[in-house]
Symmetry: C2
Subunit: 498 residues, 2 copies
């Protein structure tokens, strides 16, 4: 019985989609033109002139759509703010996107200018360039637009602007106040954002925040993300003889820094990859409801293993999505002496491990770093925050330098938050598909401190294809994602809160 | 009472030395001239023409002293052989030295041409160049001759030739047959030597072998070395995801190769630096007599610690000389991902440790490598001698690539060997000083396989200053070492076996 009801609702959804799809496709054509114009303005986050040029363009484009705009000065680059006229009776949605991009090295791109969009069609395992004239006959959603920030993160801004256009054409009323904050240095860690919240609190006041950045789940299905892991780092350096020594003359006499480091690191984890430092996972508990949501994400652990070529994953979580609910302790780099052709018969002078610790909301970065440092002390080491002097080296049997990186916090909105439910429902009815709900994504977003400062429920609603070559040469956007984004924004901006 | 006897014999020794010293100094002047001529013939072990030019010079110089000479062809560079006319009634001494040198980079030297000897006098912490004319007034034994192979190892050959001249002048009879084998590719690992023993066994037949290579003990005192450690290597590589992965998305899910490697390495040694792999030290026992000889070497463990800046040495041996009687297990290099400024938030694809194992005569290199490999297997790893394929990676929980370096054996002559006693006694009476007896030096000499193939007692009698910058730019010889070497050879070639 239930199956039949589901089937009917799916059919309704499809027919509704099919009807809207004509209007959306014609809007996609306009969006492509506007995106090409936007991409043509270089947006290297390291170049203030680039950022200014983009802000001026945005001011014009949002102004044309009836937004009030403001350029918010900060200690660094300005932020761009836009809002449709406010009606105090309506709830307020704050949208976050960014218009800066990673630097480009044109020599590594398959096109002359990464800021001049190139249209390509799939061919074999790759793509071939085609003329934009081809779009006059028909728009194939599998074609792609190649250029810097086509996916990260200019196209979501274009999707929003074109959704506004579509809503106007159709005379639709938006049941929300819509505010937009656009970041000009996300690729440089969005440093001014948390302060901006304090300075421009009233302007940014809202009931919930939607971040349109990053790719949808690899399945391509509609996705809502409730949180991200944070990050901090530690660097450990152990010491042997003060200068490298001949391994014949001093091997098994001068302390070997590699063995010391290996022993320190080995003492932090068991062979299943679980951190054995007491308290490292304190405060984390995953109830059955949460576990069901984690399990509903259509990941295949077997597929991940196959793709990354390992038999068994670490066992911090029982499966991939569960693992991401815990903090990590990762060796991202090891170095001592030389390896390979350059290896020399020496006792090296030092050995270094670079660690990164991905954080969840339960595990404060400074608390975790202290746990690791206390653990190192318990192994008999004297800790320094600098390269120890001769006196310091000779006063203690085991010395280690521990340097700490800054902390970027995690954020996470509750899975049962009503605004989250609203987003899931509107996406579900827009696409006629179950929405993938990701409680915590493994990576770190630089805007987490902004979210934690705003103190409103926040959700990432990604819009672009997962294989977009974000941050790399040949970044691209599947044209179908423009239709996806317009449809997603359309649903959000036309649905009433339950 | 004993003290007085000692004092008298010391005085005798000094007066004998003083008497000879005039003759030796005039021979040193000749030796300097001849050494400059010899150094002027470039001797890069990588250049066959260089080696040939040196062989022709040696043939002439040894011929002039009444030696019969032969150029022994090998698969690689020729060896040079010389012998004084043989008297079957006498015991035979075989002398080994080498005439090839390390390559030079003239831009790194403080003189225009490393093959053109420069005379320098101490000044402050360094040296200043002086004219060779200064030698006409007086030869200062603290002056130095700078040039490639002035110490390693052309000057011992010159010391021998000039000792022969001095013996002739004084009409002394040599109570030995003297054979000389000169190596032309010691700096390239002396590969042809062991085969040459098989091919030219009769020619090389001798009662004992004296190797004049390397520096005397840092104290500057006369030194006899009874053995050297050998060496072999192992390279271990553990594996994470097949390509580096984002540490947010895959940290604490994809296996971390750094932690695997740390756990493997940590399992091999205790925190005192002792190898915990069963059998690693099997067969080694140091009795009280041996321990006394080891302790008599005037090393100061406190000085080594101070110089190398560590509080506590590893505890394989109770003190420095004892440590060298055991095989080492040394991490000479570690590498995974990147460290320092280049560190990136990744789970690296692999982690590599470069190990070197210094060997002693009791510990066969292949046996030790097998012990380490068996130990790795016991830790749950499947071993490969190549980078594992996808199928191999996915068939086993823990995979490691282990590649093995070749083995250069240790050698060691017994401390109570009568030829060793002879050498100690002659050096003691030549210099009026206790002779430093080193049972095993930590480094490895490439001629160990030659020694083991010859199967005769072998001793290293080093002649040159310890601070000679061997293998480096600004290699030099303290002129006093020419006097030292001539005196040492004179003692050896004029004393009767007990």
């Amino acid at each position: 019985m239930r199956k039949i009801v589901f089937l009917i609702s799916l059919l309704v959804a499809i027919s509704v989609s099919a009807q809207d799809d004509m209007a959306i496709k014609s809007q996609v054509a306009a969006a492509i033109t506007e995106l090409r114009e936007f991409i043509a303005i270089p947006n290297d986050a390291l170049n203030a002139d680039d950022i200014d040029d983009n802000v001026l363009w945005l001011k014009r484009k949002f102004g044309e759509r009836g937004f009030n705009t403001a350029i918010l000065e900060t200690e660094n680059m300005p932020l761009f703010f836009a809002a449709l006229p406010v009606d105090d009776a309506k709830p307020t949605l704050l949208l976050y996107m960014h218009f800066d991009g990673q630097s480009v090295d044109p020599s590594k791109w398959d096109q002359p200018n990464p800021y001049e969009v190139v249209l390509k069609a799939p061919e074999g395992d790759g793509f071939k360039t085609i003329s934009f004239d081809e779009l006059n006959d028909d728009i194939n959603y599998d074609w792609r637009l190649f250029g810097r920030s086509t996916s990260d993160d200019k196209s979501p801004i274009i999707m929003l602007l074109n959704t506004i256009d579509l809503l106007k054409k159709e005379g639709k009323e938006i049941p929300f106040n819509v505010k937009v904050i656009l970041d000009g240095e996300e690729e440089k860690s969005s440093k001014p954002l948390p302060k901006a919240v304090k300075q421009y609190r009233e302007l940014l006041e809202a009931d919930f925040l939607v971040i349109a950045d990053g790719p949808v789940h690899p399945s391509g299905d509609p996705t809502v993300v409730y949180g991200c892991r944070g990050i901090t780092t530690l660097t450990l350096t152990t010491y042997g003889p003060v200068k490298p020594q001949h391994s014949g003359h001093y091997g098994n006499y001068a302390p070997n820094p590699g063995f010391q480091l290996a022993q320190l690191l080995a003492s932090m984890k068991d062979s299943d990859g679980k951190v054995t430092i007491p308290g490292y996972y304190d405060g984390i508990s995953i109830n059955d409801t949460t576990k069901d949501v984690l399990k509903s994400v259509p990941d295949s652990d077997a597929e991940i293993s196959d793709k990354l070529q390992f038999k068994s994953a670490e066992k911090v979580g029982g499966f991939y999505q569960e693992a991401l609910q815990y903090p990590s302790l990762n060796i991202r780099g090891l170095g001592s002496g030389w390896i390979g052709d350059k290896a020399r018969t020496i006792v090296p002078e030092s050995a270094t491990a670079e660690l990164d610790l991905r954080l969840v909301v339960e595990t404060d970065g400074n608390r975790l770093k202290k746990l690791v440092k206390d653990h190192i002390t318990k192994q008999g080491y004297t800790l320094f925050d600098h390269v120890p002097s001769k006196e310091e080296r000779m006063a203690h049997d085991k010395v280690v330098t521990v340097t700490e990186g800054s902390v970027t916090d995690a954020f996470r909105t509750d899975l049962d938050n009503p605004y989250g439910q609203f987003l899931v429902n509107t996406l579900q009815s827009s696409f006629g598909k179950d929405v993938i709900q990701i409680r915590t994504t493994g990576g770190t977003v630089p805007i987490a401190p902004f979210i934690n400062e705003l103190k409103i429920p926040a959700f990432i609603v990604p819009m672009v294809n997962p294989d977009n070559n974000q941050h790399s040469p040949n970044e691209n956007l599947r044209i179908g994602q423009l239709a996806y984004g317009i449809k997603a924004f359309y649903g959000m901006l036309t649905s009433e809160l339950n």
